[in-house]
Symmetry: C3
Subunit: 275 residues, 3 copies
């Protein structure tokens, strides 16, 4: 059952074909996310070449949830839409076989009512769960270790919990941290090195990655190819952060350089000759 653990960065030959498809297909990606992260999320998706729409205007959850190429649901979006909106979007997506990403932001921070909504969403077959270590631990049924939206759990604690979660929910689990771990129900395990610490100083950077994961899913026809696609956008993120960190004078110029680098890396992936 356990395949070997694989390491994958932006230079891995499986990475650019995924990224190139996002630019080429410009998938319509629908998101229910929070207003703190929404603008960066949209700009990250535009930089990558996707076509995002965000929010729960009347009729959008059921409408866009079924029309989109993929969707992401960021639990902290409950600061600006209802659980009903999220469920409508998820049901529409599932009915139309639209893959979607669940980001269990701030799960395990000690607010039971909020965590219960995330459990309800998680039971509705997301294609991917993406979160930090504390969030994955909490969703897998472990201890509540989040401090607001921040993790206090380690990647080492989260990986075995994430592996349990992949099996119990038949879902790909992506854990963000100093290195990212992408886990599949069949035991495959991809490590993406190099999550830059400056990413933790830019609000919404993790949330925006959830949107980018959805963009990748939208371009993958075969379910078995999803794991690599999810890892590829994590590798893009890590490389863009590495580039941006070189010239950054602080977290704000880093964020600017990061979105610029995402766009330029997508330019170069598109210009490349492979596949």
């Amino acid at each position: 059952m356990h395949a070997a653990t694989l390491s994958m960065d932006y230079d891995h030959p499986d990475c650019r074909p995924v990224l190139r498809r996002i630019r080429a297909q410009a998938p319509f990606v629908y998101g229910l996310t929070n207003y703190v992260a929404a603008t960066l999320s949209a700009n990250v998706l535009l930089a990558a070449g996707a076509a995002p729409a965000i929010g729960a205007a009347p009729g959008w959850p059921a409408g866009f949830g079924g029309q989109a190429g993929a969707m992401w649901v960021n639990a902290a979006g409950l600061i600006n839409c209802t659980a009903r909106d999220m469920l409508d979007a998820v049901d529409a997506a599932n009915a139309a076989h639209v893959p979607w990403v669940l980001d269990p932001v701030a799960m395990g921070a000690g607010v039971g009512e909020y965590d219960a909504i995330i459990r309800t969403l998680a039971a509705r077959t997301p294609a991917v769960v993406r979160g930090n270590a504390s969030e994955v631990v909490a969703l897998a049924g472990g201890a509540a270790t989040a401090r607001g939206v921040e993790t206090t759990a380690s990647i080492a604690q989260a990986v075995p919990m994430g592996q349990a979660l992949t099996r119990s929910h038949q879902v790909i689990v992506a854990i963000s941290g100093p290195e990212d771990h992408i886990l599949a129900p069949d035991g495959r395990h991809i490590i993406v090195p190099g999550g830059h610490p400056l990413l933790t100083r830019v609000t919404g950077a993790g949330c925006a990655l959830g949107g980018l994961v959805a963009a990748a899913l939208a371009t993958v026809p075969k379910e078995s190819d999803r794991l690599v696609a999810v890892a590829a956008v994590h590798a893009l993120y890590a490389r863009a952060a590495e580039i941006a960190a070189r010239d950054a004078g602080g977290p704000a110029s880093f964020a600017t350089g990061f979105v610029d680098a995402l766009s330029r890396l997508q330019d170069s992936a598109t210009a490349g000759a492979d596949v």
Copy 2:
């Protein structure tokens, strides 16, 4: 009935007097817009010299709608306020003869319930409708061609539909695209060249332009001068984008440079001698 089509850029002698009035009068401009675009919209208005306030706190729609120098209503603002809030604001604005701009974001994307709200708003005498090609086509009664918040219609398709819309609703119609078309019910037609493609990679750039159109309206006493005022802020936008694109390393540094350029162009318009 048809006046000649006119081209207008930032160097046109009619442009700077409009822009200078925005800086000089610092109009209070009230906006109901979406949280994805709200921050950029406020910063664009501040850069131009206006005094924006955004959102539907209790009492604000009826209060600020009647107090403001002008108002803009961005339909995607329905992700964070109710249709009732928008109608209250519009009714207050109309009662106080405050001109307002309607931005039919994502109209024609196949969500009937949402489109119906926009039709209700459009029936309440906005001074200007500003949108992309698909949105204008949809509001004019044409086919639904939007893909989320993006257009798939061309400017060539949208201009005749926009002209019909000017007459049916007695409204100025501004269509954003590779070149912008500003249309009046009396047949006047101004083309503003040079909408930079990088503007389409910055979320909320179009939405923010709706706010800037409102700022221009706030400073124009005569209704017949509105068409030129609307064109002038489009010309300011195009020039600022052109300046920002020169040094941009990607869409995020472009966005920063764009707001900076708006501010500096307004400085230079203010310092100029032409009235």
Copy 3:
């Protein structure tokens, strides 16, 4: 009763120990604020070393209000949460002795229903009220002089009203302007020089300062030390703005440089030897 008026900038020996504690303790700071200012507020807090969470997801106001090290309530947050959410958060904070900041955004702009909610909040023992001159005048019972979210009152008008407010509500009052005035119920009065005018061109800059004041409160065990802590973050703000203004090409690059400078000043405060 009246202590002497003191001037305090970033180089004052009492300043850095406050700032260093924020970095060292990384307090969890909970905010109910508006979506126009939310992203900048979170980024300012992250730059300073705090751990912010923002918004009223189900259960968060009562949960995070009681768990946080400190909280800020920005009245314009009523554009995206209810008065009930704010009251729940305030009650939870008070029950757990969590100090909180009230920012009476746009008070005195002529919307009675909105102003009444702020009065209700102000009656529930905030530790600090932070606002511009018009807002402080209005909350102290003076004339309504706000124009949307902007002040038309002067600092000279606001200081005596702020002093009255400190006594009537037993609250520290911080008035932002060309120079900031921090006032205590016991008559202490600290002036922080140098609020840069470019800060008024960046939407949410004042709102974000409210969050930073909360971060400072979270690290101060003794109530009598709060006044200096509040002044210290104002001094940090002023110095970061001064640094950012040197190289800014306009308000957007200023905002980027400002957050970067906050982060670097916190680095250097942390590296310093003074305790």
